[in-house]
């Protein structure tokens, strides 16, 4: 196995050099580079030159963490690990999007161990956002939109409740719509149900 390529995204020179020297001291297996140029970062990611992206999440912060979610998606698409480098309080929910969190006051060994563990761990697969929705899932959307419960949907489609729940999870992640009324609108727009049906359920 070749060297692990770590890209550090942080504007502080002290932090960059600090990470660099910690990883150098601990192992020869790391190649550390830095960037705070967004375009350069995304080119490096796409070219497969990043194994671990170590970022200060506040540099990617916005109202709903959309940019962090985007990074998460890129980490899945391009197969790298996403690690947060946090200085101060940061939204827990957003931190959960990272594979690992390194705090500014972590000891040298701890930082190193976290990275090692991460590299050893296999890639996890997640249902891709924006993937095409299947006919079966559309059937479920239609029934949800008609106000049916999971049990009723299971009976109607001759599948288990467990399968219905898993379809619903995939629907939500594919369409980005969580609420029943939102799915109902989707169903009307896509002619899965009629507007009259909609008025009955709302």
């Amino acid at each position: 196995m070749g060297k692990t390529k770590v890209l550090v995204v942080d504007h502080s020179e002290i932090i960059r050099q600090g990470i660099h020297s910690i990883l150098k001291v601990q192992s020869f297996n790391y190649e550390v580079s830095f960037s705070d140029n967004t375009r350069e970062i995304s080119e490096l990611m796409r070219s497969g030159n990043v194994d671990v992206l170590l970022v200060n999440p506040s540099a990617y912060f916005d109202s709903k963490g959309e940019r962090i979610k985007l990074l998460r998606q890129e980490a899945i698409n391009f197969g790298f690990k996403l690690v947060a480098l946090v200085y101060a309080y940061f939204d827990e929910q957003l931190l959960s999007l990272f594979d690992e969190v390194i705090a500014i006051n972590d000891e040298e060994e701890k930082i190193f161990n976290k990275l090692e563990k991460l590299i050893e761990a296999g890639n996890t697969t997640t249902e891709e956002e924006g993937a095409a929705i299947s006919q079966r899932e559309l059937d479920v959307v239609r029934l949800v939109a008609l106000g049916k419960s999971n049990r009723e949907i299971a009976e109607e489609l001759f599948i288990s409740i467990h399968t219905v729940i898993s379809h619903r999870k995939n629907i939500t992640s594919k369409l980005g719509i969580k609420s029943v009324s939102g799915l109902t609108i989707y169903a009307v727009i896509n002619k899965l149900i009629s507007a009259d049906d909609f008025n009955k359920t709302m």
């Binding site: 109202s63 980005g176 969580k178 609420s179 939102g182 609108i185 009307v188 727009i189 507007a195």
Partner: protein
Amino acid sequence: MVQNSESRSGFRLKQQLHTGKMDKFHYFVKKRDNMSHPGEFLITGDLRMADIIHINQRLLLVIERFGISLGFGDKSIAEVCARHQLNTSFVLLVLNVFNDHTYSVNELLSKEYIPVLIDYLKNGHRYFLMDKLPYINELINRFIERTENPDSRLLHAFFKEYMNEVIEHMNLEERTVFPYILALFGKLNGQEVNEELLRYQIDDFIDNHSNIEEKLDDLKQLLIKHFPPTKDRFYRNQILFELFDLEYDLNDHNGLEERILTPLVRTLEKEAAENGQN
């Protein structure tokens, strides 16, 4: 205490603000899409109120909720606060939390802030319920008028449903949560309070925020991804701008409740429990 923790870059920018050199200022203007400036700029009482709005226009909302009207000339934040009989440290705390979401509040919290904070949050509610949501509702009406797609009416029904959820959530806070907190605060200050109000705990109300975000996000998704192309593009975009803005603002509002109000109330509850034991 705010001045002590002032960061170097905050100091530099402040100097530029005072000396009229605004290089960094333009940098911030460019960065506005991200509207939170983590660790880069600390707001202090001697800055001019007008200048901080140029740096982060979202602070307009904060000022409004403190009941401060625009037109304060070159007055500093401290001067404006004094004129409105507001506690400057508290106003600075809220301004900084809005300006920098990573701003650390822990050592700055004081339970004396509770009544003012609740007033502030109520003003926020008033803004959402009386101004912001009706305005978006109106934009949706315009969108329906201009677009020739009967399905667009569904969005209106959906938004109504969303509005009702927000109203319900905020009403719960106004009718139950805030009175509870104020009663607890009063009791600890030796006031006679209605014991009936004290039968809650702040933890009963936590975890109530994520559900009002769900439909908001769905509406954005529907307008961006799923609703077919419409004849009207202007209002569709305007609705989206407003939804993003509302979402950001609600997040900040909930952040104040979760990061400032809740820890303060926990302190009160602990104190009340200790008093009870003695």
